[in-house]
């Protein structure tokens, strides 16, 4: 009989001197409708916390989510939920929409009823990670939220005189019952979303 009994297989290094973590995230992320992702064709890397390929269905595209503030995605966190037989993780993402109007109201309504995946870039001393392994292995800065069970709206608040949101919207999305503490993307994968080549017949040179 097998039990879910994971074993530690490496040292726990609290501080890596050549890769000290910097708090926060970059201002631009990507948001996907989870139904636009072809999860059947997802491929993982050295461990299954790293996604190397995650195609979109034909005709679908990701959307940018931009947080023009000094503390983008402030309020984003991951918490372990300790159960009797298993521990899961709850991922919480906060987005501020510094605006209001019919267009924004429509976006908030879509966020209220949809299921989403967000890719967010963690700030890190080890930029463009994945190419220069640290003593503990590669570090990937782009992180996916919502891959396992989707991000759903937990709250959306608009306060007319709120100094932080300036009468915009504070939207909180959560993913519950996730098995993984963090799922990451390679830089090449994110680049394929950000910089798709538009020319289907891009010339290539072959030396003869």
């Amino acid at each position: 009989m097998n039990f879910c009994d994971a074993q530690l297989d490496r040292d726990i290094i609290a501080i890596e001197c050549n890769n000290i973590s910097i708090k926060g995230a970059e201002r631009e992320g990507l948001i996907f409708n989870r139904s636009d992702l072809d999860l059947d064709e997802m491929a993982t890397g050295a461990n299954d916390n790293i996604i190397t390929t995650l195609p979109l269905k034909t005709g679908k595209t990701p959307f940018k989510v931009v947080q023009p503030t000094r503390t983008p995605f402030n309020g984003t966190k991951t918490e372990a939920v300790v159960g009797t037989y298993a521990t899961t993780f709850t991922h919480t993402l906060q987005i501020v929409v510094l605006n209001h109007g019919d267009f924004v109201a429509n976006v908030v309504q879509q966020l209220a009823s949809g299921e989403f995946v967000v890719a967010m870039k963690n700030r890190s001393a080890n930029l463009d990670s994945g190419t220069a392994p640290s003593p503990t292995g590669h570090h990937y800065v782009w992180q996916f939220y919502g891959i396992e069970s989707g991000l759903h709206l937990a709250s959306a608040v608009r306060e007319l005189y709120n100094d932080d949101t300036l009468a915009g919207w504070l939207v909180t999305l959560t993913e519950t019952d996730a098995q993984k503490a963090g799922i990451f993307a390679t830089n090449d994968l994110i680049d394929s979303y950000l910089n798709p080549t538009n020319d289907p017949l891009a010339p290539s040179q072959e030396a003869t």
């Binding site: 992702l37 390929t53 195609p55 090449d188 394929s192 798709p196 017949l201 290539s204």
Partner: protein
């Protein structure tokens, strides 16, 4: 001289090729060639869905050049070469017309 060829193969957004046999590197639409695409599909024929456009089939191999037989001085099927007779040039005055 570099030969410019158009790449027909095109990956779907979000697809990246790793560890393609016979090629080094990581491939996206920015650097994909039909040769890489064909090599990948040979390894992973179940991944045609990763492609928006499949590559053209590999070009037919040209027939290898037939080895050129070295010229032989001895040929059993022909008579031995006859010495060519040449008349020595005469030196002298031109004949009158």
């Amino acid at each position: 001289m570099d030969k410019i060829t158009k790449t027909k193969a095109r990956l779907r957004m979000g697809c990246v090729l790793y560890h393609v046999k016979g090629f080094n590197g990581i491939y996206t639409n920015a650097n994909l060639t039909d040769d890489v695409a064909r090599a990948f599909l040979e390894q992973r024929p179940d991944k045609e869905r990763w492609f928006e456009t499949l590559p053209d089939p590999a070009p037919a191999d040209t027939e290898p050049a037939k080895p050129v037989e070295p010229a032989s001085d001895v040929n059993e099927n022909t008579e031995p070469a006859q010495p060519v007779e040449t008349t020595p040039k005469k030196r002298g005055r031109k004949p009158k017309k």
